[in-house]
């Protein structure tokens, strides 16, 4: 492993100053960064360890009814916070469907947002990858790409963003709090991650030194708590990334959909907010027919980037099921197999 400097700042301004130097990387839980370093995928010259900045480790209720998640709150702590799980059940379910218990104990809010793609060619330094080495080409094109993107991809990059957590967050209008050399700014999560275009190496709007200090959920996000689900299809029952996933949240009154939120995971370089589908749902009857129309709208622009046409049809079906599950109501407690189809059952009758 390449030698690097290790800095452990005690304040946020010190952290930002240290990380603004070229070649720096923040270290939070390290579950992604250290793997990438060991694989030679990234080789920062300076590690700025923020993991002991206590002020980033808080969950705070805001005066306007929103909630602020400190960037260092561990994925497991957040998911197991009873009040959080009650108010944002789809987010808790998504968190618990990710990785393994050990990884969730280490992984943080900020790190989860910034985890890199699982595209194998990105990890394999013997392969060409525009994201790793701009201009090198993309070996995933024409390669083993059955799990790659079906939405928003470009000829430069067909990778997906692998996070579960981000999917319900983007559906619920989460906002990323960023602190940098020029002070603090807020960016919606929907705008935070970028599509690849010609510059797949630019995955988000962070500038050197920028620190994610927290993620905000607006007050409205809790209004879906009675009808919010996350559903994740994967190639084994647990401990696997999503082939495709969806978060659905509804407010239903008198059989009509008053509010609808929908986002997809595992389909694009960013957590995919399906606004066109939400538009179809708004005011429609809360039933399967509407959900099928919404699914068609959500995937209207999808196209295979390789051997992955099946993901488009799979995504449609997941959207319908996620909406059916949301309509059926949030279960009283989190299922034993969070977000698994084997918990939120096809007929949406109860939880296994």
């Amino acid at each position: 492993m390449k030698n690097f400097d290790y800095i452990r700042p005690t304040t946020i301004p010190d952290a930002i100053a240290a990380a603004a130097e070229p070649g720096s990387a923040y270290l939070a839980g390290g579950t992604n960064l250290l793997d990438l370093m060991k694989g030679g995928v990234t080789s920062p010259e300076r590690i700025v360890d923020i993991s002991r900045l206590a002020e980033l480790n808080r969950i705070e209720r805001l005066a306007d009814g929103g909630l602020r998640l400190g960037a260092l709150v561990r994925n497991a702590d957040l998911a197991h916070d009873p009040e959080f799980a009650r108010s944002y059940p789809a987010v808790a379910e998504a968190l618990l469907s990710g990785a393994s218990a050990q990884l969730r104990n280490a992984a943080t809010v900020g790190g989860n947002l910034l985890q890199r793609t699982r595209c194998s060619y990105f990890y394999d330094t013997a392969s060409a990858c525009n994201k790793r080495e701009p201009g090198a080409g993309c070996d995933a094109l024409g390669g083993e790409n059955r799990l790659h993107a079906v939405l928003g991809w470009s000829d430069a990059c067909i990778a997906t963003h692998p996070s579960d957590f981000c999917v319900p967050l983007v559906a619920l209008d989460a906002v990323v709090e960023i602190e940098g050399k020029k002070g603090r700014r807020h960016v919606t999560l929907e705008e935070f991650h970028r599509l690849p275009g010609e510059t797949p190496q630019r995955e988000n709007g962070l500038e050197p030194g920028d620190l994610i200090v927290g993620v905000r959920l607006p007050a409205e996000a809790a209004s879906f708590s009675a009808n919010a689900r996350y559903l994740k299809v994967r190639e084994r029952t647990s401990y696997a990334f999503a082939v495709v996933s969806a978060a659905a949240a509804l407010v239903v009154e008198g059989g009509k959909i008053r509010q609808a939120r929908l986002a997809l995971g595992g389909v694009a370089a960013k957590p995919w907010r399906a606004r066109s589908a939400e538009a179809v749902l708004l005011g429609a009857d809360a039933d399967e027919t509407s959900f099928v129309r919404a699914a068609d709208a959500a995937l209207a622009d999808a196209s295979p980037s390789g051997d992955n046409a099946f993901k488009i049809e799979l995504a449609r079906r997941i959207v319908v099921r996620a909406l059916m599950s949301a309509l059926a109501g949030t279960p009283g407690r989190l299922p034993a197999l969070p977000a698994s189809p084997f918990s939120s059952i096809p007929g949406v009758r109860h939880d296994a």
Binding site: M1, K2, N3, G40, R118, S120, Y121, Y123, D124, T125, A126, S127, D139, G142, G143, E144, R146, V233, R234, E235, R236, T237, S238, Y239, A240, V243, F310, E313, L314, R317, I318, V320, R321, L337, S340, P341, F342, I345, P346, G347, R349, H350, A352
Partner: protein, 752 residues
């Protein structure tokens, strides 16, 4: 070797007077769960340096340049070993004079023949410095196009498959059998390349002292490893001491010493101090063996009663460009189902991969999933229940050879497991069992089988004047519990309580215990232990029965019994004497005896010897998403004498879970252009997690086999995969109506 193995005392064996058959917990369990068990890579001799491999990024070509200067300039790097300065070897690593000798890549030249082949070794004061040194080598290549996939090269008929089995076998007239059949099926199945992925990577700590070599490395075959290393370095085998007390799994990949392990020894030679080399996970995908992919076509004909008239099983597989190991998949059809005509055949291609190798149930696992799927299709074509169909075609003698079985309690396995599972309630047609939650439920079954193999082993037994015993054999514990099972056999062989027996294994300075492979280790080394015990007891009996002062004097032809540290007169158990008394009177501190374990050629000639089993699987499939979960597995197995039911069950569980893995998860995703494996890590190379196997039951069926060996032991290490993989595939068909034709079964295969 000093191992502190404290025994978990289970009074049952005291009551019953026998250690064999008791469900003792592992002797090494405490050491392992507390982290005290010392694995190869846990050793740090003084002055040790770290070696790290630099491996090829291409599949085929040659290394044009390496920046050795840059690597050497990195702080802490001591030396870089390349073909230029690699110490000489006495044997060409490309030489091969027996089928167990595999060609190794030991920096003999600059040629590259598979991805992840070693192209240099960097030796440094720290692991980090060696790792960075390896990265700094920045190799340049002259690359040639890689040959990838079963259609990636011209196919040929290999000279032999597995270890020396002919590529083509037949009995009867298959074409005539198919012609005359009332019903026929033909189907092609594909299985993926798989990697052993033992939890413990191949690791070695090597230290030279002149021409003596001391190594810590995991090995499934100490004597073979010793011999191979001796040949390569031109030194006497007894100058090499290998310690391998524990393996973190092997599954065949540690059967033969691998190239990287030898490179660790070469590195130590080069720098003149001890060296540790541990493979990174992704480096295990190349030089340490794998299970080759297969494409198998089965044709079967059945008469009006559902009796097979012909089985034709053809398998295409792959080996490397430079060595021979051909997965003997089609041979799976030799032993299970009665048919007047059977033909099996193989073809192969040579690809730019590392050489495939034995991987848990080599041939049996790949062949079984195809055969059991085809049998299911055949039963369906005849409108018969799959169990009824199998019973209709039950082989009373081994189908290919006509030999009687030494024992075969497969019928009992079918009965026990099917009843336990509830198979009778299974509807014949698929998609008939939606559950209350709307999942498609399916039930499938498969027959398990594995040959009862024996190799050669030796053991030495000692009885001491203090009444205790010692048993020594260079046996290997891959994690299966050999430390415990062998100690149980030793205790009974010595007529001692197991706590009175000091059992030593896992070191090459002990008698050769053969290889821990082929599910034959317990039978082979167990027989050596048993015979060594008998030999030393015979000496003790001579001392007693020949001495007038002994109460056993003149026991004569009636003989004596050894039990609980005493010899008893067989015809009068009131007359007995303790081992200590006998030795004290003879003025001996200890006596020893030796025993061997070998297959008996006469009974092997006369009988077909196999373990059998029946596995029943329930799956749930999401009707819209195609996600599959195996919700229930019930297997019953008959494998001769059970030395320790707890450990045996664990082997069956592990095998059955591997079967689930085979059917649903495991696949080395290989880039179709570069030949590089894209998921060479345990996050993306999937094996089942606990949530994938919520309920696994393994039932033991009693089986006495007087012919396999005196202890009646067959073997249990591999059989669990066979049968299970097919049972899962057949259950998926029964749930969905879609016949899985490639494995692992993918979501897109079921989306419809």
């Amino acid at each position: 070797m000093t191992l502190e193995l404290s025994l978990n005392q289970q009074p049952a064996h005291l009551r019953q007077g026998s250690s064999i058959g008791q469900p003792l917990t592992r002797r090494d369990g405490f050491l392992k769960v507390t982290g005290a068990a010392r694995y190869a890579a846990d050793n740090h001799p003084p002055g040790m340096l770290y070696a790290v491999l630099a491996v090829s990024g291409i599949a085929r070509g040659r290394v044009a340049s390496l920046d050795v200067e840059a690597a050497k300039a990195h702080g802490g790097v001591v030396e870089v070993m390349t073909p230029q300065n690699r110490p000489p070897l006495a044997t060409d690593p490309d030489a091969k004079n027996n089928p167990f000798m595999f060609r190794l890549d030991l920096l003999q030249n600059d040629r590259i023949r598979y991805p992840n082949q070693t192209i240099a070794v960097v030796i440094a004061e720290t692991l980090e410095a060696a790792t960075e040194g390896a990265a700094l080598l920045s190799p340049r290549y002259e690359a040639q196009p890689a040959r990838v996939g079963l259609d990636g090269a011209e196919s040929f008929v290999p000279g032999g498959v597995g270890i020396g089995s002919p590529a083509v076998h037949h009995k009867g007239d298959v074409e005539a059998g198919l012609e005359s059949a009332a019903t026929r099926i033909e189907a092609t199945y594909e299985t993926s390349a798989q990697y052993h992925n033992a939890m413990e990577p191949h690791a070695i700590v090597a230290a030279w002292d002149g021409d003596s070599l001391s190594i810590d490395t995991p090995s499934q075959g100490l004597a073979m490893a010793q011999g191979r290393i001796a040949g390569l370095f031109g030194i006497a085998p007894q100058n090499i001491h290998i310690r391998s007390p524990f393996l973190g799994g092997g599954f065949g990949s540690k059967g033969m010493i691998s190239g990287p392990q030898v490179l660790g020894i070469l590195a130590a030679r080069l720098v003149g101090c001890p060296v540790k080399l541990v493979l990174r996970r992704e480096q295990m995908y190349g030089p340490a063996g794998h299970r080759a992919p297969t494409r198998q076509t089965l044709r079967m004909g059945m008469d009006r009663e559902g009796r097979l008239t012909a089985i034709d099983h053809h398998a295409k597989t792959a080996s490397s460009t430079f060595d021979d190991f051909f997965e003997p998949a089609a041979d799976a059809s030799h032993t299970l189902y009665a048919s007047p005509a059977i033909a099996t055949s193989h073809e192969a291609v040579r690809l730019d991969t590392g050489t495939p190798l034995f991987m848990r149930a080599p041939g049996e696992a790949t062949g079984s999933i195809a055969l059991e799927s085809a049998i299911d299709e055949a039963a369906g074509a005849c409108g018969m229940d799959p169990l009824e169909f199998r019973l209709r075609n039950y082989a009373e003698v081994e189908p290919m050879t006509g030999k009687p079985f030494s024992s075969k309690a497969l019928r009992e396995c079918y009965t026990l497991a099917s009843e336990r599972f509830g198979w009778q309630r299974r509807p014949l047609q698929p998609r008939q069992m939606p559950d209350k939650d709307g999942f498609l439920t399916g039930w499938g079954m498969g027959t398990a089988t594995f040959p009862a193999i024996m190799f050669q082993a030796e053991a030495r037994a000692v009885l001491r004047a203090d009444g205790s015993g010692l048993m020594e054999t260079g046996a290997q514990d891959m994690g299966q519990g050999a430390w415990t099972a062998f100690a149980q056999i030793a205790a009974d062989g010595l007529g001692l309580d197991i706590d009175q027996v000091d059992f030593r294994a896992g070191s090459s300075d002990l008698p050769n215990a053969g290889i821990a492979g082929g599910s034959g280790h317990t039978a082979t080394a167990g027989m050596a232990i048993h015979n060594a015990g008998a030999a030393v007891i015979a000496r003790l009996a001579d001392l007693a029965t020949g001495h007038e002062a002994s109460p056993l004097f003149g026991a004569g032809n009636e003989g004596v019994l050894a039990r609980g540290g005493r010899l008893y007169r067989r015809d009068d158990e009131n007359r007995s004497e303790s081992y200590g008394e006998i030795l004290a009177r003879a003025g001996l501190a200890e006596i020893d005896g030796r025993g061997t374990g070998t297959p008996d050629p006469a009974s092997r000639e006369a009988y077909a010897m196999h373990a059998h089993g029946a596995v029943f699987a329930e799956v749930k499939v999401d009707p819209d998403f195609g996600q599959i979960r195996v919700t229930r597995l019930v297997g019953a197995f008959a494998a001769g004498r059970v030395i320790n039911p707890r450990l045996v069950r664990s082997q069956y569980y592990g095998g059955m879970i591997w079967g689930v893995s085979f059917a649903l998860h495991e696949e080395a995703v290989t880039d179709r252009r570069s030949g590089r494996i894209q998921n060479a890590n345990l996050a993306e190379y999937h094996v089942p997690v606990n949530a994938d196997v919520p309920s696994v039951e393994a039932l033991l069926v009693h089986e006495d086999d007087p012919y396999v060996n005196a202890l009646g032991i067959k073997g249990v290490g591999e059989i669990g995969i066979t049968g299970t993989a097919g049972a899962v595939a057949n259950a998926v068909w029964h749930a969905t109506g879609v016949r899985p034709r490639r494995f692992p079964i993918r979501i897109e295969d079921l989306l419809g």
